[in-house]
């Protein structure tokens, strides 16, 4: 990997970054570190706006933006990256355009997607530092967990109405000591319906400007090694009475990610973790995968939980055990091979799987995604 000391600047860049370079204790080397750095900003909204503007202006060499959303009129009260002309455009595209006009010497990478358990590790792995500017609990825990699993620093900020929080999570200092992460601070999110996770949100427009700028400051400190990052501490700002407080945050033994007995070793279902899904997800198999098993002669049992009259109309050779009788016929459902459970389109079979898992501890059940309808329309094998 090339060292930041190999980083060169053009005349224009040197002129642009002059006020950085002349700060004692910052200098050319910190500017080189900024240019060498790859920072991922998750969310280009209220917090993402000042973050991206200041990080781009500061000369962070590669800035990633994750956002799936489009610019809306109601964003303009606080999302200063965007103007009236951007309404209706993809936020990541509008942000890229604005940032490229602000600083043509840096690279902007856009990710037009929602960050999910499926794509988070893949997106984050190419960056040095993550800055979390999202607006919901599932994504907060996702960004945190992915950062810890990948060993990246997560510069966190959060806002609600008149209040803001800033912290630097999972930061490894020069001695190799790693600081606390979000799960050390908050082991679990508020259940839906309890404050502050109720829908009556709202935020004072200038607040993300203040808090997002502090977040940008922490990103710059983490990248350059100048100063002391806000690791092991939580900063709070109350805009109403101008109270600021800083609390100590310590690593905890019972942290499921990196405590003494880690139980989370891969990304989980964060909607479920945050109570936003009432039902537990079940293992699924697509009709293509299922067909593949059939063709390859994989050992499995197929269970059809529809009603007898539906079975008579069409079936794909499964053993008929209607949903209402599944528990009393559990002895017919094998535990020693994979079992694919299907119904018409997947809802009843998911329910059957949940009941069987809960009552009898099955862990070998797969729900056929889209049910017999998907199978017949997408695979339609010769029977």
């Amino acid at each position: 990997m090339p060292s930041h000391l190999d980083i060169q600047f053009s005349k224009e860049e040197l002129a642009r970054y002059d006020r950085h370079i002349i700060i004692p204790g910052f200098g050319l080397e910190a500017q080189q570190k900024l240019k060498a750095a790859k920072v991922l900003v998750v969310g280009s909204g209220g917090l993402g706006s000042p973050l991206l503007l200041y990080l781009a202006a500061a000369g962070v060499g590669t800035l990633g933006i994750v956002d799936f959303d489009t610019v809306d009129d109601s964003n303009l009260q606080r999302q200063v990256l965007f103007g009236k002309q951007d309404v209706g455009l993809k936020k990541a595209d509008a942000a890229q355009k604005r940032l490229e006009s602000l600083n043509p010497h840096i690279k902007i990478q856009v990710h037009h997607t929602r960050l999910t358990s499926e794509n988070a590790l893949d997106i984050i792995k190419d960056y040095d530092v993550v800055a979390d500017g999202t607006d919901n609990f599932p994504t907060r825990y996702l960004v945190n967990d992915a950062s810890v699993l990948l060993g990246k620093t997560n510069v966190y900020a959060s806002i609600f109405q008149f209040e803001g929080q800033v912290a630097v999570f999972n930061y490894t200092n020069s001695k190799g000591e790693t600081g606390p992460n979000y799960r050390d601070l908050y082991p679990t999110p508020p259940p839906p319906g309890l404050v502050p996770s109720c829908a009556e949100g709202g935020v004072l427009g200038v607040l993300p400007g203040i808090i997002g700028s502090m977040q940008a400051n922490e990103v710059i400190k983490v990248v350059t090694g100048v100063g002391e990052p806000l690791s092991g501490r939580l900063f709070i700002f109350d805009a109403l009475n101008f109270e600021t407080r800083t609390f100590k945050v310590k690593r905890r033994d019972d942290n499921p990610l990196n405590g003494s007995n880690p139980t989370i070793t891969k990304l989980i279902d964060y909607e479920f973790f945050c109570g936003l899904k009432t039902e537990k997800p079940v293992q699924e198999i697509t009709v293509e995968q299922f067909y593949d098993w059939q063709v390859k002669g994989e050992k499995f049992q197929l269970i059809d939980v529809r009603e007898p009259h539906e079975y008579e109309t069409s079936n794909i050779g499964g053993k008929l055990i209607p949903l209402g009788t599944v528990l009393e016929n559990a002895n017919l459902i094998r535990k020693d091979v994979k079992v694919v459970v299907h119904c018409k389109s997947g809802a009843r079979s998911a329910k059957a799987i949940r009941e069987l898992e809960e009552k009898f501890g099955y862990n070998n059940l797969y729900n056929l995604k889209g049910g017999i309808l998907a199978y017949l329309s997408q695979v339609a094998p010769v029977s």
Binding site: D135, N136, R140, F160, E163, L234, F247, K250, R252
Partner: protein, 92 residues
């Protein structure tokens, strides 16, 4: 007496007061005193088993009570107690 600082999201249960004085010798007593003065606040502070909710952190001065003696942490008349809930942003 100790001072408890109430975060924005909980102020609607405390008649919009951001700073309250409570009569208490420990954190548990302080929060109970708070809940008895503002009954609507109770379910937001304690779970079904009477434990302080895990998405709320309670700090005595700058220390988390989980690093002290939890609810048994002593408070003096000039102690400042902060309740800091998890916040995520504008949407749920």
């Amino acid at each position: 007496m100790a001072t408890i600082l109430i975060p924005t999201p909980l102020r609607k249960f405390t008649e919009n007061q951001s700073k309250l004085q409570v009569n208490a010798g420990t954190i548990q007593e302080a929060l109970q005193d708070l809940a008895s003065n503002f009954p609507d606040l109770k379910k937001h502070l304690f779970d079904e088993n009477g434990k302080i909710r895990t998405f709320l952190n309670v700090f005595v001065e700058e220390d988390d009570i989980r690093d002290l003696q939890q609810g048994e942490t002593q408070v003096a008349h000039d102690t400042v107690v902060s309740i800091i809930p998890a916040i995520a942003g504008g949407s749920i």
